[in-house]
Structures are given as C-alpha cells and as structure tokens.
C-alpha cells in the first residue's frame, strides 16, 4: 500500500515574449519609463564592457575573460531588485550585477587584468569578489546570511552561479543548510545551457534546475532569463520572501551563452553556429528596446546617444586601467596576514632582493 508523502511543482514565469510584447500584465515597476530605460542602459553598458574586455584580451592587455553576452538581463535584473545593504556573491560571469551594484568599470578591468586591487572596490564593500572555483560561493552565502541574522540586519544574500555549478556538492550542501536554518539566501542560477562544452542535459538528469531546490526543502522557480522584467520581478519576490523571515529560495534563469566560454575557449569545436544564431533571436537587449520603442518613445537618437555615452565611459575606464602600474613584488606579502609574522617578514626582505 502506498500513500502520498509530498508533492511539488516548479513554475516558469515570463513578462515579455522574444519580440518584447508583454505577456499579460507587467509588474508595476515596468510601467515606469525611467526604470525601464535604466535597466536597458545597464544592459547596454554591460555589453559594451564585455566587448572592450574581449578586445583588450585579444591584444594581450587583459587576462582570460568570460563575457556575459546574451545574459545581461540576469545580472541587471537581479541586482536591480536588491538593496544596497544586501550582499552579492557573484560567479565570474555576472559583470552586469557587479556594475549595477556600483563596482566600477575600471575595477573590473583591473581584476580581469590580473591585479588583486580590482577586488578592493570602493563600491559595495561587503559584496564578494568574483568566485572562480565553481560553486564555492554558495557556502559563503550561508555564512554571510548567518551573520546578518545574528546581527538582526534585514539584508538578504544573493549568490549566483551557472548551470554547471548546480552539480557541485558545495551548492547542495549550502542549499540544504539554508533550508534547514531558514537563512535569507537567494540562489540564482544562470542556466546558459552550457558549462564550457558540456550541455545542460549532460550536466544533470533533472528536468529543471529549479527543482534542485526541493532537495533542500526550498521553493524553486524558473524564469525567462532573457526577460529583464521577469528576472527582476522574480528576484523581488524571492527577496521579499527572505526579508519576511520565510527563508531562502532558488531562481533558475533560462538564458543562452552567445559567446565562447571565455577568451581561452573556441565554442565552434563543440556547438553548431545554427544553434547560436537561433538563440540570438531571443537575446535580452532587443526585446526590451522593442518595448521601450513601442511604449515609451525610445528612438534612434536616444539609442545612439546611449551607445556613445556608454562607449566613451568604457574607453575612459579602460585607459585609466591601462595606466595603472603593476604592484611591486612586495605586494604579495602585504595582505597575506594582518601583520606579517617575523618568519615571513624575513622572506619578504629576501624576496625584495630577488628583484
């Protein structure tokens, strides 16, 4: 004999179709032209940063770089729903979220240029730097949230990762702990269908990534990740839920990686051009621009002005970055410990002599 012990359901939400036509009623914030223009501007800025970063890398002036081309709506949508005092723990592909939160273009160039000082951003001082070891940011998020609860802050923690990251033990252990302790952590998964050369469906047998939340007893939902309005709305719901003390949740943002994995990758080795072209039809910028044009008088002049402004800003930031001298060898020792133990102080001096 068999009885039902539990049942679950995963929903997927969207606000705009691929052409920018609203599907049903839009959230209130999306009725405001300025808000939409800001979201659009942030996505354009992110894309311009990406393009410049790739150009710098190609000419040997930046390290290996992973662009967020086609995924701009996620970073921007998520960050725009957050408060300043919330804490972001980004993966390596969420430039849009970092930029919206106030990390500067110059700081990002510096980081990707291979300089630790890029992580010492003036902006959101408690936000974590980019996380390279996949999935390891999720346990941190639990700790950040624990600290907030302990201090009775009302902040929420947002930890972002890719579809590949959902295969890591770190991710599940963190999900489970957040569920067990009802911590205010929102897990955002940017499912861009690829983890380098591994397809989403080879990554896991799960029908959705959102359902992984069920393992930790958390609510999970899918959202159209190329729809910045839907992403922001879903994040707002998740943040409100957490802020109300109801615990964490997971949002799977469905998107597509239009570029190579990084500048060190050649995606043509493992996927067809046609697949990529098909996904260009769903990319996030055009659809929001279409909405702006249709409803809020966006036009060619505004578009060009925006592009000019953003490009100038990016170029200026790149120039400032390129003018920064590398730190001296001694810098390796500067922040190893709060104060250098005598042992290492001797070594640091020796090292200076190696110069």
């Amino acid at each position: 004999m068999s009885t039902r012990a539990a049942s679950f359901r995963i929903d997927c939400s969207a606000c705009l179709d691929a052409t920018g036509k609203p599907i049903g009623k839009l959230p209130d914030f999306a009725e405001d032209a300025n808000t939409l223009a800001a979201l659009y501007g942030a996505m354009v800025r992110t894309r311009a940063f990406d393009a410049k970063a790739i150009a710098l890398q190609r000419t040997g002036r930046l390290g290996t770089y992973g662009s967020s081309l086609g995924q701009e709506a996620i970073g921007v949508g998520v960050a725009s729903a957050m408060r300043v005092e919330d804490v972001l723990l980004p993966s390596f592909r969420e430039h849009g979220a970092q930029l919206w939160r106030g990390v500067t273009l110059e700081e990002l160039f510096l980081y990707w240029g291979g300089d630790e000082r890029g992580n010492d951003f003036a902006g959101p001082r408690r936000d974590f730097p980019v996380c390279i070891p996949v999935g390891t940011q999720f346990p941190h998020a639990a700790g950040v949230a624990l600290a907030m609860v302990q201090r009775k802050e009302s902040g929420v923690v947002v930890a972002m990762g890719g579809d590949g990251a959902t295969s890591k033990g770190d991710f599940y252990e963190a999900l489970n702990l957040v569920g067990a302790w009802d911590l205010p952590v929102v897990f955002v998964i940017s499912n861009n269908q690829w983890a380098i050369s591994v397809r989403r469906r080879e990554q896991t047998g799960a029908q959705t990534l959102a359902q992984k939340a069920i393992a930790g007893g958390l609510p999970g939902a899918q959202v159209d990740g190329n729809d910045v309005i839907a992403v922001r709305a879903a994040t707002e719901r998740a943040l409100a839920h957490a802020r109300a003390g109801e615990g964490g949740s997971l949002i799977e943002c469905l998107t597509y990686r239009l570029g190579d994995h990084t500048t060190a990758d050649d995606a043509s080795r493992y996927r067809e051009d046609e697949e990529v072209s098909a996904h260009w039809k769903e990319e996030p910028l055009v659809r929001l621009r279409n909405l702006l044009v249709a409803r809020h008088g966006w036009d060619k002049a505004k578009e060009e002005a925006l592009l000019r402004e953003v490009r100038a800003e990016v170029e200026a930031a790149a120039d400032r970055y390129l003018a920064i001298e590398p730190a001296p060898r001694r810098a390796m020792f500067d922040h190893l410990h709060a104060t250098l133990p005598p042992d290492l102080a001797a070594l640091a001096e020796e090292a200076a002599g190696d110069g």
Binding site: T136, L146, R151, G169, L336
Partner: protein
C-alpha cells in the same frame, strides 16, 4: 587557579570567548545539546543559546565555507570538524578562500575564523579517526596552524586564535584531552601565536615536538637525563608560521636535533624543520637530523596503532644514535 584537563581548558576558552565577544559563534556537528563528541562544548549551548552554539547538518564543506562567509562579515566563527579525518572536504575552502580572502581583496574582506578539530591517534578510535594532517595545512600560505601541547597552552592559544584577525586551524591532540590536568589561569589571557615554548632546557640535543608527542618526548628527556644526556625539548605550538628563530637557536646551541611527529614521515612537518636547519644551521650540526615519525604507511586500525605511533623507545634510539654519531 583551576586544575584543568585540556578538554576543560578548551571549553573554558570557548566559554570566555562567548562571554566577552558577542561576535563569537560556534557551530559544528553535535556541538549543541550533546556538547561535542569529546565534550569540548559541553553546556555551552545551554548557557549561550542555540543561536550562538549551533548544530549543523552533516556537511563539512558548508561548515568551512559558512565560516568564511560569516568571518568576512566580521563575526568570529569557531567551527568544529568532528575529527580531523573529516576535514578534507573543508580543505578546498581553506586553500581557495579562507587563507586568501584578505590577500585577494587587498584587506577589504578578511577571515577571522577558527576551525577546530581533534586529531591524532592513541585512543583506539575507528579507521579515519586518528590521522595527523598538520603538514598539509601548514603548506597553505595565509593560514595559521596551531596545536596546543598542554591544558594551559590550549586555553591561551585558543583564545589567541579566536582573537587573531586571520584564519587559524586549531588541531587538538585528542589523546591528551584528558591525560593530565594542570593549573590554568582562566582569566582570558591569550598566549602568543607563532612562538615556540621551551618545555625543558638542555645542552646536548634538541627535541622538537608538538601535540600528544610532547608527553612521549618528555619521557624521553627524563630517560636521557638518567643516561647523562641533557636534552632540550621545544613545543612548536604554532606549526605555521613556526618559530624558526627558537629552533635554530636551540640547535645552534646543542648541535643535534631529533624531531618527533605522529604524521607519516614523507613531507611531514618535521621535513620543514630539518630543511630549515640544513640551510640555516648547517655549521652547527654535529650529527644528522633525525625524524621520529609515523611510518610512511596508512595509519593502521586500532590493533596496530600503538605499533605505528612514535614511542619513547624510538625517540631514545634516535637520540642515542645522534649522540653517538661521529
């Protein structure tokens, strides 16, 4: 002044830290109502509440990673790994995050966390429960590794570790948790990190040890004295960064050195000490440096563990060889 065993001294230090610093929180498996499988946290949850002394799910990776996150926000997490044999899933967080958060953010985010774990053999525990991983941890730049050698040092060093602005792994030699008591001033005074302790002064030979091997070495010192050999015994206490100056000075004086540790020989922490002496004290050395260590084997199950662990006999044989060397 109370007579405390090491486990009591550790509890007293944790208790003092919880009392005096609201940022201190403890978490780990079974540290709450059960007070830890060795009772290091006995009564603390009852006294300080389950928000500050908290049982976690059985997840070492998230225990370590959560400590990093909480420390970055300015808390002082003291996390427990139930046995050092289960510390490996936490290693990624130690290497890739805890030890370098300060460095990679140029001091913007820091990691004042402590990861405590009982370690070492000698209590007839099941497999995977008796190993000594200090050398691996000592190879992680940016991380401190501290091993107390007595109740008083456990008290003072644990407080120092908790107050230190950087991450510390605090390995507790469980074999001597209850072996002896000594008078411990529980006044909240910390002992200095990165400093060795001179346990016995001597002229002929330097013994370097830490953790549970100190007692074994101490007995060797007494036995050697009977033979007319005057051995100096140093408790390294902080393994990384260790007190090179103290060890070099002692060996410069005695000209002979025997290092004792439970961990396997190859790339054990004894290797670092010997290498440092081979570079900086060569002209003072009048005999080969001997390492009395666990064999290069897997720690055997309990029926053979006493055969694996360095004992006074092995230390004596090495010391005599070194003394007789010409």
């Amino acid at each position: 002044m109370a007579e405390l065993t090491m486990i009591e001294a550790i509890r007293a230090a944790l208790s003092h830290a919880l009392e005096t610093d609201p940022d201190v929180i403890l978490f780990g498996e079974d540290i709450g109502i059960d007070g830890g499988v060795f009772r290091a946290t006995d009564g603390l949850m009852q006294r300080f509440g389950s928000a500050r002394v908290r049982d976690t799910p059985l997840s070492e990776t998230v225990i370590a990673g959560m400590a990093v996150g909480a420390a970055a926000m300015g808390l002082r997490p003291v996390a427990e790994i139930q046995f050092s044999g289960f510390l490996y899933p936490a290693l990624d967080q130690l290497v890739n995050h805890a030890s370098r958060l300060r460095n990679r953010t140029r001091g913007r985010l820091t990691c004042p966390m402590v990861l405590r774990a009982p370690y070492g053999g000698g209590i007839r525990a099941p497999e995977h429960h008796s190993e000594s991983p200090e050398a691996m941890l000592a190879h992680i730049p940016g991380l401190r590794v501290v091993i107390p050698g007595s109740p008083a040092r456990a008290y003072g060093l644990l407080l120092a570790a908790i107050r230190d602005p950087d991450p510390v792994v605090f390995l507790e030699p469980k074999r001597i948790y209850r072996a002896v008591s000594e008078a411990v001033e529980t006044d909240g005074a910390a002992l200095p990190l990165d400093r060795a302790f001179l346990v016995a002064e001597g002229e002929d030979l330097t013994l370097v040890a830490w953790g549970a091997m100190l007692a074994v070495a101490d007995e060797a010192v007494a036995r050697l004295a009977e033979e007319g050999i005057s051995a100096e015994l140093i408790d390294l206490a902080t393994i990384k960064p260790y007190d090179r100056v103290a060890v070099r000075a002692s060996v410069a004086k005695t000209g002979r050195c025997v290092i004792v540790h439970e961990a396997a020989l190859t790339t054990g922490f004894g290797a670092e000490i010997a290498a440092d002496l081979a570079e900086h004290c060569l002209t003072h050395l009048i005999a080969p440096i001997r390492r009395v260590a666990g064999y290069d084997t897997v720690m055997p199950y309990l029926r053979l563990e006493a055969q694996y662990l360095p004992d006074t006999g092995r230390i004596l044989r090495a010391a005599r060889e070194v003394m007789e060397f010409t």
